[in-house]
Amino acid sequence: MEDNSTEDAATVIKQGKMVISPNKRTTTVNGRVVELTAKEFDLLLTFARHPGRVYSRSQLLDIVWGYHHDGYEHTVNSHINRLRAKIEKNPSQPVYIKTVWGVGYKFSENIEEAND
């Protein structure tokens, strides 16, 4: 499941109006810098590296928090929630991190954020 090794870890990722720079660990949306915590950034990076790929909550827990998380699955939900609050225009109708009902979450392959 983990194929980070094949990635160029330093490549800047551009999706819609979002620019993620893994080296500098910065994120901008629409040119505006978004302040993310370390875990929120890791979570976003995990998603953004594989747009369209669906992650279940337990997978995200393993990838971002490691195998020795020992419960606390709700941290995934709160982090996704806070991440959305920071990057989405309307967190209740997210365009970047989407919910795949019954399965998990994914990063949208074709961003269709309305221009403003």
Partner: protein
């Protein structure tokens, strides 16, 4: 009607002083009058005898010597107008008097006081009837006519004039009486003022005390029927209010003491059941490990694995129990913090259900969801609500037999999201329903063997929802299932 204690006291004091003042005035006037009369009578004790001495009042034919008397009486009136002189016959009939006609109202005078007077066996002042008034008596002096020999009549002298009769006249005419009247009035006024001042000080402190007690009582606990009691108290004075407040406080203290002793009993029961629940798996664990140690060589691989499995199961159970206890005591802490944030409850429920999917499949229980994407977000603490969902699903799985279902429903109603979790399990007898949220309560008694269940799940659930200002309801039918239902506030700052 006076309402405050002060005004009541002031009214009573004023009334009392008026009564005392008037009584005192009356007594003073009376004694002054008596004293005056006594002095007058004493001084003029012999006046009648002196007047009568050597005078001839009757002619030889026993008729009244009008001419001589007129002259005498006239002289007397000129000399001392305060002395009114009458000539009486032995039966007390008035024969002649020293006044203008019409002033004298009586025709006869009771002769008995005169006889007593002449005998000298009376205490002064001694009163006789006043001819100028039909109902008045006055001090007098009297003399026998003639002084010796056959009684022809009496000379009767009233001492103290008419103009001395009215109260106002008495006061106006007496410097001493005027002075004492004003002294009494001034003394009473001064005492009244001092009394009122003293009362004001005392009741002022009482008022302060009652205000303080009142505000303390009000700040203490919001009472639903406080307004009713306040209305009742508003009609009384300070002491009524204090009494009312005191009885309310007593009532409250009693309820609180009851509550404390009840919670103390609950605490003891909790400690007892916690000790039991911890000791039971520990004893089992201990037993298996000891057996493994003692019979290490004799046991087959299969039995050993079995024993180890049992041991680890009890370890897990202990772990879970202690974690739940810890969680509950954390949630019971008065400063526990709930961090509400808007989030999609649908997503959380989806993730929690995923977590239990495997366990449900093993038990052949289907988890039925009908998520409608686009449901509004709720405003709650994600971690705590996840715990609620987990507990309710675990509870459902534990009580639902193979082939059963657990259904989830979410419906926005007004400003709330109503969440229902319905299982097709064994159900809960109606008598047990109220207790299921109590700590360590387990339906059907011996839930001890059930794997990894502490008996605290529903208590934690209830406590978490309480912290969110919400409640949980349960309805159940034996052998057909149980439905838990609770609501969470919808978030207001995110659009639907």
């Amino acid at each position: 009607m006076p309402r405050t204690l002060y005004s009541k006291l002031a009214m009573v004091l004023l009334g009392l002083f008026l009564v005392v003042g008037i009584t005192f005035l009356i007594i003073t006037l009376y004694t002054a009058d008596m004293y005056y009369q006594e002095v007058r009578q004493q001084l003029n004790r012999d006046v009648a005898r002196h007047i009568a001495a050597g005078k001839t009042f009757f002619n030889n034919d026993n008729t009244v010597n009008q001419l001589a008397i007129k002259g005498l009486f006239h002289t007397l009136m000129d000399i001392n107008p305060d002395i009114e002189v009458y000539l009486l016959d032995p039966e007390g009939r008035i024969l002649a008097f020293s006044a203008e006609p019409g002033k004298v109202k009586r025709k006869t005078i009771d002769p008995e006081p005169i006889q007593d007077w002449l005998e000298g066996s009376v205490t002064i002042p001694y009163l006789g009837e006043d001819p100028r008034g039909t109902d008045k008596s006055k001090v007098f002096s009297a003399a026998r006519i003639p002084s010796s020999g056959k009684l022809q009549g009496y000379l009767y002298a009233i001492i103290g004039g008419e103009h001395y009769d009215t109260v106002v006249g008495k006061i106006q005419n007496s410097y001493i009486l005027k002075l004492s009247f004003w002294m009494i009035a001034a003394g009473l006024l001064f005492t009244l003022g001092a009394g009122l001042l003293l009362f004001a000080k005392l009741t002022g402190r009482l008022e302060k005390l009652s205000v303080r007690m009142d505000s303390f009582r009000r700040s203490d606990l919001a009472d639903p029927d406080v307004t009713a009691l306040e209305e009742k108290a508003a009609y009384g004075d300070e002491i009524d209010r204090l009494t009312e407040i005191f009885s309310q406080m007593v009532e409250r203290i009693e309820t609180q003491v009851e509550e404390i002793s009840r919670s103390e009993i609950m605490r003891r029961e909790l400690v007892a059941s916690v000790s039991h629940d911890i000791r039971a798996p520990l004893t089992t664990l201990h037993g298996y490990i000891e057996t493994l140690l003692m019979k290490d060589g004799e046991l087959t691989e299969e039995v050993r694995r079995n024993y180890l499995n049992i041991a680890i199961r009890h370890c897990k159970r202990l772990n879970r129990l202690i974690a739940d206890l810890f969680e509950l005591s954390r949630l019971d802490h008065p400063e526990v913090q709930v961090k509400p944030e808007p989030f999609s409850l649908t997503e959380l429920l989806q993730d929690v259900i995923q977590k239990f999917q495997l366990a449900a499949k093993e038990k052949n229980v289907s988890l039925l969801t009908n998520f409608r994407p686009g449901l509004p977000s709720v405003n709650a603490d994600i971690g705590l609500i996840e715990r609620v969902l987990e507990n309710l699903i675990e509870n459902g799985l534990r009580h639902t037999p193979e082939g059963g279902t657990i259904g989830f429903e979410m419906t926005p109603v007004k400003n709330f999201m109503v969440i229902q979790i319905r299982d097709s399990g064994s159900g809960i007898p109606i008598d047990d329903l109220p207790q299921i949220f109590e700590r360590f309560y387990q339906s059907g008694g011996g839930g001890y063997e059930r794997f990894g269940y502490s008996g605290l799940g529903l208590a934690i659930t209830k406590r978490i929802l309480e912290l969110h200002g919400c409640s949980i309801e349960v309805s159940s039918e034996v052998d057909s299932g149980t439905c838990f239902s609770f609501q969470l506030p919808l978030s207001t700052n995110t659009g639907i």
